[in-house]
Point group: C2
Chain length 441, copies 2
């Protein structure tokens, strides 16, 4: 037996992830000690209600409602309470009492990251959050450490399992959004209130965390453009398939050049929206509730990280990896590595984003219509790459109509939305059926 240094670990929260973390800490304690170079004692689990029903065999005596005392004596505090408060207060309390913090709390980091990282910096503590960005997928260390000598140009991530599950089933089964959502809720893949997932709030929090790390810039959650998937219809899915695409909810974090007011002319764009992804792109084959993060870096080229984006035991793996890292740091000594926000690039509004689009219109089917539409696009600085026209049966009242699917070259989002507004007002356009971004070419 090696006489390891002894570290006290406090766990805050005993939900799906927390109970798995506790179980694995107890089960694999000796193995973790060997790897960490320190024995890890689970000192206690702070919960709100001792008598709440729990789906776990954890020893009752570990549970306490006295988070204060638990934190004071701890070397490592694992925060798995979720939400902003009291999680924020507890994390700051842990840092100020000299502990390292491990958290999976994306909402907290996306909203109070700078405050927390500053507090840690002040005392030389470290905050670990591998589980906060894409569940079990190791993405934080690759971005922070492995790519620290490179320049990340773009991240495209499928970072929300619920929406990927829904979109994947809509795509493969032709089912509609409401039906699949109901099934996902029944299976436990979606919450009773699915807003955070289907409206893209969860993905936006993760995008803010990934962009902050990749671009060495504090990215406020408010600066992340966010659209959900509630308006994706089966006919949009069919049209996408027909054109060789699949619709995915993407978190896109991008470095842009030629923008004031940054000294380097560089800026970043961070946005979450459903987008058309070519079927040949690696992200297109991410099925079910899986997540994947595609990274393009100047030197490394294209990298992809794939795995389970959620789940109690999967996320517990990422949390425990952080616990071992924290323990190793306690053993090795030295201060923590602070978050780097030195680049501090401006985060541009969505209007500055540049991407390709697919615009679907219903138009009058008569000579000259395409010329009128092409003129509107060209005046709006939106260049046409492809046009596909299908005649729609004459319903007698509205006259002959056609469906136009226009693929554009890269255009500025502001130009595009102004142009779409002009199209909508045009006499020859019956309906703007859909406008979708195209990513991954």
């Amino acid at each position: 037996m090696i006489d390891y240094r002894h570290l006290r670990v406090a766990l805050l929260g005993a939900g799906a992830v927390g109970s798995q973390v506790a179980a694995l800490l107890l089960k694999h304690g000796e193995e973790l000690a060997d790897r960490a170079g320190a024995s890890l004692e689970l000192a206690g689990i702070a919960v709100r209600d001792l008598d709440a029903p729990r789906d776990t065999d954890l020893p009752r005596e570990l549970f306490t409602t006295d988070a204060d005392s638990l934190i004071v004596g701890a070397d490592i505090v694992i925060e798995l309470m979720g939400g902003i408060e009291p999680a924020r207060t507890r994390v700051l309390q842990a840092i100020n009492s000299g502990a390292d913090v491990v958290t999976a709390n994306k909402a907290l980091l996306a909203t109070h990251g700078p405050e927390i990282f500053d507090a840690a910096d002040q005392v030389g503590a470290q905050v670990y959050y591998e589980a906060a960005a894409a569940g079990a997928i190791p993405i934080i260390r690759p971005l922070r450490d492995s790519l620290a000598g490179d320049r990340v140009q773009r991240i495209m991530g499928i970072v929300n399992g619920t929406t990927n599950y829904i979109l994947d089933r809509m795509d493969t089964e032709g089912a509609d959004f409401a039906d699949v959502l109901a099934q996902a809720q029944a299976l436990g893949y979606a919450e009773a209130d699915p807003t955070a997932d289907v409206e893209g709030y969860d993905a936006a929090q993760k995008a803010a965390i990934l962009a902050s790390l990749a671009f060495h810039t504090a990215v406020p959650l408010e600066s992340v453009h966010r659209e959900g998937i509630t308006e994706i219809t089966t006919s949009m899915m069919d049209a996408a398939r027909h054109a060789g695409y699949v619709i995915k909810l993407l978190a896109v974090c991008e470095r842009l050049t030629g923008h004031e007011p940054s000294a380097s002319g560089e800026a970043i764009s961070v946005r979450v929206y459903p987008a058309l992804v070519p079927r040949t792109h690696p992200l297109a084959s991410v099925h079910g509730a899986n997540n994947a993060v595609f990274v393009e870096a100047e030197a490394a080229g294209s990298l992809m990280f794939y795995g389970a984006g959620a789940g109690g035991v999967q996320t517990a793996s990422a949390v425990l990896g952080d616990v071992v890292s924290a323990a190793r740091r306690h053993v090795a000594g030295g201060v923590g590595v602070g978050e780097s926000t030195r680049a501090n690039l401006p985060v541009l509004e969505i209007g500055h984003a540049v991407t390709r689009y697919q615009i679907t219109l219903e138009v009058d089917d008569r000579p000259g219509v395409l010329a009128i539409i092409a003129t509107i696009l060209s005046e709006g600085r939106v260049s046409i790459a492809t046009v596909e026209q299908t005649v729609i049966a004459d319903d007698g009242e509205a006259g002959a109509r056609a469906r136009l699917v226009i693929g554009t070259h890269k255009a500025r989002e502001q130009d595009l939305s102004d142009t779409v507004a002009r199209l909508a007002e045009s006499d020859v356009v019956e309906t703007v059926v859909s406008v979708l971004r195209v990513e991954g070419n």
Copy 2:
């Protein structure tokens, strides 16, 4: 301007990777300083011959043949000479003079890893080697840190770009091995002497490094079973395609249970060979010279890491990430984290590996033959999962023959090879056409 601590970086070697590392260090110096919290001065580049032709604009005054003096004054030594000696001597010299070492040298780590890690441990130095296992793909930190709280069960990696390029072209174009190899050599994807790649030596070195890390066990290179791809024929490729597989050169690192003499009953198997991979498996869609590492862990489930496995600038990205990590450690203080080999599991011979197989035979086409073959398999403890029989045209001399493709359930390699030997001796078997392992189900 921040007055950063100043760190001297010595570069050993100015080949494809080394010259890119030097160029990026000079180009992005300020940005790297911000991230590292220390300014990184490229103190010099040690080469054998100052006058060797170099495809680079690096300042001539950086080059020196005096590696000794360069190492003595360095905080961080980057070893990109390749090969065992003098790389080994230089790395030990760097460690003993108090520097941290960054290396991409898989041959060195796979053969002298324990000696080097021990030396580093003695003085509290750290050895970084993200570039040694899968080029630009971040896999070392995920295995060492992110998964440190989990138990890796299996790694399946496409870790050699040259062989994946060759196999991919054989698969997609029906071309044969020799032609594709010649083209790969002309394009610079394969060396003039391709032995290290096509015979699996390079992949075996990487497998040893990955397995050591994943299973906390010193894995000697000699214990890695190795087979190359030189015997893969177009007809094997065709048959694989027909059966829904693709042939990939895989590095398989696996945890096995129920084996003496380890205390836990656990052991590992590390092997490199061409194997059949189902077309639906994520590894099947790794094309061209790309690499990917598929990891199965107890809690995290299935993860995949994908990207460029080689290339000067891509590998330079991984090297520079390590340089920044080393610099951060110098700033933060504390001793290095040693390699963990505490599990020290026995590495089993290939005979103990357990996998599925596809056996292709040419047999006499007459009643009772299948029964005889099935009996031989059953006596050999190899259980049949599928059989496909095709009649081969009677050539008049040998009589009617048939081709049998037998898919097995999981079997021990030793049982399988004994059984195949018995099949080869049997009167009813004309030829054992091929025996391939099936991985990824």
